[in-house]
Structures are given as C-alpha cells and as structure tokens.
Amino acid sequence: MAALRQFLTLNAQILYWTFVAPFAGKPTVRIDAIFQQMVRIGVQAVPMAALTSLSIGLTLAMQGSHELARMGATSYVPDLLSITLLRELAPLLTGVVVIGRSGSAITAELGTMKVSEEIEALEVMSINPIRFLVAPRVIAMIIMLPCLVVFSNYIGFVGGWIICNFALDINTTKYIMRLIESADMMDLISGMTKSFVFGWLISVISCQSGLAVTGGAEGVGRSTTKSVVLCILVMLVVNAILTGMFFIIEGPKG
C-alpha cells in the first residue's frame, strides 16, 4: 500500500502548491502552463469525444427504441437517453477517451523525463517538479474533463435526435421537450460530480505512475500500460460507488 500513501502525499503536495504556496510567498503554479495543458487535454480531445458520444447517442436510441417499441412506448426514448447519458455514459466514455489520449501521454511524458534525468535536473535547479509539471496537468484535467462531458452530453443528444427524428415518430420539438421534462437537476449534478472526480483521479494516477518510472524506455512503456489499466479500473469502481451514493441520497427514482 506504498502506492496509496504516495497517492495521498502527491495530492497533499498538489493542494499545497495550488492553494497554500501562493499565500506563503512561494513561487506559484504557472497559469500559462495550465492553459497549455488545458488545450492539450481538453480542446484537442474534442473531435474524439464528439465521435464517441455521437456513436453512443445513436446506438442508445436505436437499441432503446427496439425494447420500448415492444411496449408501445417509443416516445420514452428521449427519457432513456437523458438519464443514461447524463448520469453514466457521458462521464464514463469521456473518461475513457481522456485516459487513452491524455492519461497515457502524461505518464509517458513524465516517465521519459524521469529516466532522462530531467526531473532530477529540475530538482537541482530548485524547481519543484510537483509545482512545475504535475499541478498544471492535474488542474487542467479537473477543469477540462467536466467541460468535455457537457459537450459529450450535447453531442450524444444530437445522436439520439437523429434516430428519433428520422426513424421514430418524434419530431425535434417533441424530442427537446421530452429531454427537458425527463432530465432533472440531480441527473446533471450526478454526472458532473463524476466527471470532476474522474478528472482528479485520472490525472493524479497518471502523474504518479509517470514519476515512479524506473528502468529506461522499457520502464516507460510498462508504466504507461499499467497506468492506463489502473485508471480505467479505478474509474469504473469509483463510478459504481458514486452511483450507489446518489442512489442512496435520492432513493429509487419514481
């Protein structure tokens, strides 16, 4: 459980550099570095997130209409979409996209810096690697993952709309009305909470795995694979826990 202790220490250090250091007259996390990472993690992931959520919106609507048609309830397709997308699929699938695109890149990048002595060089220059490298990435991901999820929600709904409008008997107005009616605040809150938590976990785990690399280029590859697997696993487990928590808070939905 040394890894867990490291994870907690790393979190404490990130919190220190983000929230305490600026008031203690210490050097701060650089804003331009955060923006740079936001572009890499968020903006550049937009096409992939869009394609993923469009596909999932289309699939959900098609599968849902099959099942619901048997009960003569195809008009509930938008309801199905809004709950599953907002609460579960948008955060999870966007998480997977970000793990694949950015989590792995972060681990590989920091790992390469570790084995090529760049991290050591930073330390010798009295530049704290947590402040300089880790904090901008973590902050950027915690901000950008929720943004991507909001975006994915919309694109997913577009996917659903394509099916509803062209294959089912639900026109645009009706589709939008049903979406608005069926989704409540808790759906959004639950999805957004998840995306914040995922952003935090993915970024910190990826950074930690990168900093822990030993053993040259081979070590970088090994750590990157392990880190991606760990991120996905942790995300799925935490997702179940969070869904459980919201289930308890709200009670079974009526």
């Binding site: 050097p27 810096m113 090529s116 760049e118 050591e120 060089a121 930073l122 010798v124 220059m125 009295s126």
Partner: protein, 281 residues
Amino acid sequence: MSETKRETVIEVRDLVRKFGSRTVLNGISFTVEKGDTMIIMGGSGCGKSTLLRHIIGSLRPTSGSIKIFGEETTTMSPQQMEKLRLRFGMNFQFGALLQSLTVGENVALPLIENSKVDPAIVDLVVKMKLELVGLTGFENLKPAEISGGMRKRVGLARAVALDPELLFSDEPTSGLDPIMTAVIDQLTMDLTQKLHMTAVVVTHDMASAFRIGTKMIVLGAGKRAGMIIAHGTPDDIRNSPDPEVQQFIRGEPDGPVPLKLAPEDYIDRLLGHDRDKGLSY
C-alpha cells in the same frame, strides 16, 4: 597560489553507498576549498556520477556525511535543500535538458523560476550564457535538434545561468572537439579564477584535467572499487607511485587494471562455469 586558509565549501566524510549488495562508494572523504577546481577521475562505471549525485543531494548515502557551505546535507529537509541548491549549478553528464522547451527556454528556466528579473534581462542573460559556450543563435532550436556535444554545452550554460557559487560538471568536454574542449576549459578557469566560483568536474580527458584542476581525486577499480586511490594537487597525482594511477593518467591498456583475464578465467566466465545460472538474457 596563496597559502592562506580558504573557506571549505564541500566536505565529504566516509561516504558509503550501496546499491543492493553492491558497494559503489566505499568510504570516500575529501574537501574542496573556495576557488578550487576539484577533478574527479576514475574508470567508466566506477561511481563518479554517483558521487556527484550524492553531493547535490539527489541520492542519500548509506552512511557518511556531506557538508556544503558548512551545512550537513544528508539529513536536510527538502525545503532546506531547495534553498541550498540555489547556490549550485549542475551540468549533467547527458545534458538533462527539458525536451519540451527550446535551448533558450532551458537556459532561461532557472532565471524565470528562481529570480524576479525582468523578461528583457532574462533574454539578455540567455544570450550571454549561450555566447559563453559558443552557441549564439541556437536559442530557438529544441534539444532534439542539436548535437550531443551542443546539448552538453547548453547544459553548462544553464548550470551557470544564475552565477552559482558552486558548479558541478559531469564530463563537460566528452564528445567535444579539441577547440571546443579548450573553450569550455577556459570558461571553467575564468569562472573559478575571476569570479571565485568553486568547481567540481568529472572528466576522462587528462589534458583538460591537468589544465583546469587545482585538486584531484582518482577513484579505484577492482579490489579498490569505490575508494579514493589518489588524492592531491595535479603534481601529486602526476608523481603518484601508485601503478593504477599511472596507468590511468597515461592511458595504457594493460597494467594493474588488467586488459584481459587469464585464458582459463576467460573460458570459465564465457561458459558460465563459475556461476550457478550461467548467462541469462
């Protein structure tokens, strides 16, 4: 050289470092005074870089003490270490430049992060430091776009960016042509003689070692691995009675450090008779 007592900048006492069961540093003791250029010599893989890593605080020794500017570093907190490190510059054996930044940004990094100078002045200092190492006009290239020798020189420029009191340089001239070697040697001498900087330089280049060194240590191999086998001024080393030291500074292939094993040993090793598992890849 005046014989007045100078301030001790580095004091290493009985430094021992083991990696697993291997003892890489075995009871190293020496001191470096202000204005000295201490040369560390020894065969490849004998632990020179490891010794530097201990002095700059990247590694902690198994036992022993290291004092820099009179402060014990082996037990120092990371915060204290961070402060002390503002007074050093380190030039890594392989440059250790940040690949994501340009050459200019690399040299500017310590200035931007650790001093509150104006961006215009940072630019100026970067140009000056790159000029010192003969790299004017290369500011905008990435480390991947320059040669190995150039990378090392950028590393040196970065190490001296903040005009440190203490400079560590790990093989600053290996892979450089003779003219560039002389330029870098001259730079080190200027820094120590004119600015009273103290330098610790690892080098394999005997000509350059005897040109710039005011003190030297030689690390041993074989039975004396990880120990200092000679210690003193360049003249002491040149006149050292130790045959291993003589072999080293003359660069002879055979001597106390054997070129090849005896034929029986060679065959045994090759076939793995003296090991349990033999060779394994």
